[in-house]
């Protein structure tokens, strides 16, 4: 009997559903909350309401796309957290209702663990143990993955996330929030060695981007005093230099983590892994460092239900089921090691 799992993701912007059969994704559909584009960024009110409006159409579309009847489902996996509580509530309630109605197991998934297991949606899979750098608007973590369900956070940001560093410096440059993708775009035409910003001195495997943000702010303030058109005249070089600095900070910590653990299987996930300089820098250095680099396709890097379904699958195999009394959690301090 094949194992068929429905995955549901609603932790932040995206309402997404996916169907996975025996570890293979057969459908992964994400509602495009185009309503957000009009208002800019993630708007919590709209997020919760849009999830409410989207969830049933998205699940129906996914089942249709997978050519699967609800009755064929063996389990429902959903994002329990971390995320926006109002948004998580929608996916959690829906998953609980569906599992109850179909009398099938309910599986609670940790969103950050799912980002890491996104590497098992397609081949090649990283070999255990591996290190995963998860970088997004809200997170920057280095996780040591011992097996599919045993993971340990060995480094994380002590202030701003890498994606936030991109978005906030973009705002200083006059770009609309969230401007991370625009920095990437403009950086392609700029010189990344034009400006140098001090790199944070953080011990261990932790990250800090708050100091970098402040030093860029002061740098811009001082330059604008001398030339009020400084940003406009140097936009491309500024974007390239900022991007190179952030990517460099991430690479240095990964090198440290790899040395510290002796692991050379290196994975990257999360929305910021779409950044072209980050990809270039890691891929280019991998050979010299003897690393095998794994970066999932972009659709599996940003928030998606396929990663929830694949995590649900590994939990299903271990019979890690949730009770009907489970509640969503906006913040789960650590990746749980089961």
């Amino acid at each position: 009997m094949p194992v068929t799992i429905l995955g549901i993701e609603s932790s932040c912007d995206e309402t997404s559903a996916a169907v996975l059969i025996d570890g293979q994704i057969v459908s992964n559909i994400t509602a495009d909350q185009s309503v957000h584009a009009k208002y800019g960024g993630v708007v919590p009110e709209l997020a919760s309401r849009a999830h409410q409006a989207n969830i049933i159409p998205v699940v129906s579309a996914t089942l249709r796309d997978a050519n699967i009847d609800l009755k064929k489902l063996n389990a429902v996996a959903f994002t329990q957290g971390p995320g926006l509580l109002g948004a998580l509530m929608v996916g959690t309630s829906y998953a609980k209702g569906l599992a109850l109605a179909l009398d099938i197991p309910l599986i609670a998934v940790h969103h950050m663990q799912a980002h890491i297991l996104a590497h098992f949606i397609k081949y090649p899979h990283p070999q255990f143990p591996f290190l995963c750098l998860t970088v997004s608007g809200g997170h920057t973590q280095i996780v040591l993955a011992q097996d599919h369900l045993q993971m340990k956070v060995i480094g994380q940001t002590i202030d701003d996330a890498a994606g936030e560093a991109f978005d906030k410096t973009a705002k200083m440059l006059g770009l609309n929030y969230p401007g991370g993708p625009l920095i990437d775009k403009y950086a392609k035409q700029g010189n990344g060695d034009k400006f140098h910003f001090p790199e944070p001195q953080v011990p261990d495997l932790n990250f800090s981007f708050s100091g970098l943000k402040t030093s860029i702010l002061y740098f811009l303030r001082d330059e604008i005093r001398k030339n009020e058109n400084f940003i406009q005249e140097n936009l491309y070089d500024l974007c390239a230099s900022i991007q190179k600095t952030i990517a460099g900070i991430l690479l240095k910590k990964m090198i440290k983590a790899a040395k510290h653990t002796g692991i050379r299987e290196i994975a990257i996930s999360g929305g910021v892994s779409a950044n072209s300089e980050l990809r270039r820098l890691f891929t280019e250095n991998a050979k010299e460092l003897g690393w095998n680099i794994y970066i999932p396709d972009l659709e599996y890097c940003t928030d998606n239900a396929a990663m929830i379904a694949i995590t649900g699958y590994y939990k299903y195999l271990k019979k890690e089921f949730a009770e009907q009394t489970i509640i969503p959690l906006a913040r789960i301090p650590e990746l749980k090691s089961h």
Binding site: V43, E45, L46, G83, L84, T157, I158, G163, R331, P333
Partner: protein, 147 residues
């Protein structure tokens, strides 16, 4: 920026380095009975860094990071702590939807970065204000006011 909610400044510190923040944090907690704080300051002033020091004083060993993306982080100290960042919020309705008022009604510690958008609500909840201003030499002035 403080508008009509600005009371007479009760206390003021000048800090030269991050290392001095914990002492100021402890003094603020001792000086005010308020458990809710609106924290003002420009980008890069050190709002998150200072809240980190206060949370440490409140007995949490959790990693305190910026909630800009998540809007609110929750920590377990000796008492519950909610750490808000309203940088991305444009309209108050957006906050009501995520249960903002329920958070405020809670008998928990609440810290709000970028509180301008909810300023008119704060008077009902006995908020103290913390203002962090960066000086040209890199030092920070921290002012606390409230009941």
């Amino acid at each position: 920026m403080f508008s009509k909610y600005l009371c007479a400044v009760q206390k003021k510190w000048t800090v030269q380095s991050v290392g001095e923040l914990e002492k100021v944090a402890a003094e603020i907690l001792a000086a005010t009975p308020a458990k809710k704080f609106a924290v003002y300051g420009n980008m890069g002033a050190g709002k998150t860094t200072f809240i980190k020091s206060i949370c440490k004083q409140l007995g949490t060993d959790e990693n305190i990071s910026s909630p800009t993306f998540a809007i609110v982080h929750e920590y377990a100290g000796r008492e519950k702590i909610y750490h808000f960042d309203l940088y991305r919020i444009n309209k108050i309705e957006e906050l009501i939807e995520i249960g903002f008022e329920e958070y405020l009604e809670n008998d928990a510690y609440v810290f709000i970065e970028w509180p301008e958008v909810v300023e008119h609500m704060l008077a009902d909840f006995n908020f103290a204000t913390i203002k962090i201003t960066e000086q040209n030499d890199g030092s920070r002035i921290i002012e606390v006011s409230g009941e």
